[in-house]
């Protein structure tokens, strides 16, 4: 089932309009200037992956879109609405959801509370049955303390909780980091299925092999700028370049 979803995916990808438009995005952590003018687009229904080395500015890009980074300039348009000056709660309510690299599972909340924490921001979120269908482990552990889950289960919880909010644009920051191959595979299947459900996904990944199983397009981030971009079809032709960019 998930395999067919992956096979179907590219055909549907090009149909959506431009949902996110990032222009000349700059961002600062305190005094340090991290992003130096990021430009890229995401179309509705696509899975787009930001690749790049550690410290290139991938996570900062996601956080700047989400409104978490205090000092940011340039333009971020979501569904043609400028959100560069909006606070993160407003941005979330427009339908963008963020799954942070550190997962952000709350230890003082049990699994059920963690799952139900993000408020529903608009209609169209996945119903709980469908979420449990995607992540059966979570259903069995609803009463456990959030941080008592395994790393893989925490990652699933972190993704699961943003699916019921109705946000249609998901930003996932390194969802496979530190996880066992079998779990990575499961997350890959999940992303493919979410794409099929109509979600648009912006992914940050170090694990290029994983990214290549789910992404439609790639952007390469280096020193706070997008230095290259190509589609999944062009991947083979760009392999050598990519190895140089990523240093692998």
């Amino acid at each position: 089932m998930p395999e067919t979803a992956i096979a179907d995916a590219p055909a549907k990808a090009a149909t959506g309009g431009n949902i996110l438009q990032v222009r000349n995005l700059e961002a600062w952590y305190g005094e340090s200037h991290i992003l130096h003018g990021i430009n890229f687009d995401v179309n509705a229904g696509e899975v787009v992956t930001l690749l790049g080395r550690n410290g290139a500015g991938k996570t900062t890009t996601l956080k700047s879109i989400m409104g978490i980074i205090g000092k940011r300039t340039g333009s971020v348009k979501f569904n043609n609405q400028e959100i560069i000056r909006a606070t993160s709660d407003k941005i979330a309510r427009m339908g963008i959801a963020f799954c942070p690299e550190e997962r952000g599972i709350f230890s003082s909340l049990d699994v059920r509370e963690n799952l139900l924490l993000p408020p529903v921001v608009r209609p169209g979120g996945l119903p709980l049955e469908q979420i449990f269908d995607l992540f059966p482990n979570l259903k069995e552990r609803l009463n456990s303390q959030g941080t008592k889950l395994s790393g893989g289960e925490q990652q699933m919880l972190a993704i699961a909780r943003i699916l019921r909010t109705g946000a249609s644009f998901l930003m996932l920051d390194e969802p496979t980091e530190g996880l066992a191959p079998v779990i990575i595979q499961q997350i890959g299947h999940t992303i493919a299925r979410l794409k099929k459900e109509g979600f648009t996904i912006l992914l940050v990944e170090q694990n290029f092999r994983f990214a290549s199983t789910v992404a439609d397009r790639y952007y390469v981030v280096e020193h706070g700028k997008i230095i290259d971009g190509f589609s999944n079809a062009e991947l083979a032709a760009n392999m050598d370049k990519l190895h140089t960019y990523l240093g692998v």
Partner: protein
């Protein structure tokens, strides 16, 4: 034996105030990361609001229980919006100094107009008199204070630990940035939390008015002990501050019976011992 029960009751009453005040301090510390030294002054304001309501507006005790916490809570929220919110991310010391300054100003203003002696506040008619329990005589108002405080404490615990709103609060205590990125207006929640904590202090002030009279320095005297209670219980835990509050009141009462000379210091001696053995407090989390 009568004297022992009497001291136990006094201990439970003091414990009620300790619990209500340290509960508010714990909630405020969790969300705002501020050690709210103004808590005693706001407790005092609660009692004064009740006094004004009765003497100026003829509004009775029962309404005061509701209105005083709301008025003082709104005053607290104004403090938070205009001053405390700017301290986000700064060292605890700044919050402590600012709230200490606020406490001194508020107390100074009240002292200027009302002196240091107490204003009387009558026990409401329905709670006058006492009951003979067989082993002791129980003034009804005092029994009411203990039971009502306990109910309010447990309701607050339930709100924070068992409801959706409480889950937002606990989550925002852990990671306000992420909670905000889920679409929750965290700054507004912080303001309301401060209002809630302050409202609990004001409620304790109303409860105490008929027992201790209404004095500008009533909070200053109490808050030092309450901070010791908070240190012993640990800042992080809601149930911890409730239990420690009542327990220390009782311990104080028992000390008054068995070794009266130590009754004013026993809480501080315990605080020193707890700090030596477990610096985060009995129920607190490591910072």
């Amino acid at each position: 034996m009568q004297a022992l029960y009497a001291q136990l009751l006094v201990g439970l009453i003091n414990g009620s105030f300790y619990a209500l005040l340290s509960l508010g301090l714990a909630v405020i510390f969790g969300m705002l990361n501020i050690i709210n030294f103004a808590h005693g002054a706001l407790y005092m304001m609660g009692a004064f609001v009740a006094y004004f309501l009765l003497s100026l507006g003829g509004i009775n005790y029962w309404w005061a229980l509701l209105i005083a916490p709301v008025i003082v809570g709104i005053f607290g929220m104004i403090l938070e919006r205009t001053m405390l919110q700017w301290l986000t991310g700064l060292d605890h010391l700044y919050g402590l100094l600012l709230t200490f300054g606020i406490a001194l100003i508020v107390q100074g203003v009240f002292q200027n107009y009302f002196g240091s002696s107490g204003l009387p506040y009558a026990i409401p008619d329905q709670l006058k008199g006492g009951m003979n329990l067989g082993f002791m005589f129980l003034p009804i108002y005092r029994g009411w204070v203990v039971i009502f405080s306990l109910v309010v404490c447990i309701a607050t615990w339930f709100l924070i630990e068992k409801t959706r709103l409480g889950a937002y609060l606990r989550a925002a205590t852990e990671n306000p940035t992420l909670v905000r990125a889920f679409g929750i207006n965290v700054p507004r929640m912080i303001t309301l939390t401060y209002g809630l904590g302050v409202g609990l202090a004001a409620l304790a002030g109303v409860l105490s008015a008929p027992i201790n009279q209404v004095r500008p320095l009533m909070g200053a005297d109490l808050i030092i002990v309450v901070f010791a209670v908070v240190v012993i219980g640990g800042m992080g835990s809601i149930m911890g501050s409730i239990i420690t509050g009542f327990a220390l009141g009782v311990i104080e009462g028992l000390t008054k019976y068995f070794y009266p000379e130590a009754s004013n210091t026993v809480v501080f001696v315990l605080m020193v011992l707890v700090l030596l053995v477990k610096p985060t407090g009995l129920t607190g989390r490591a910072a």
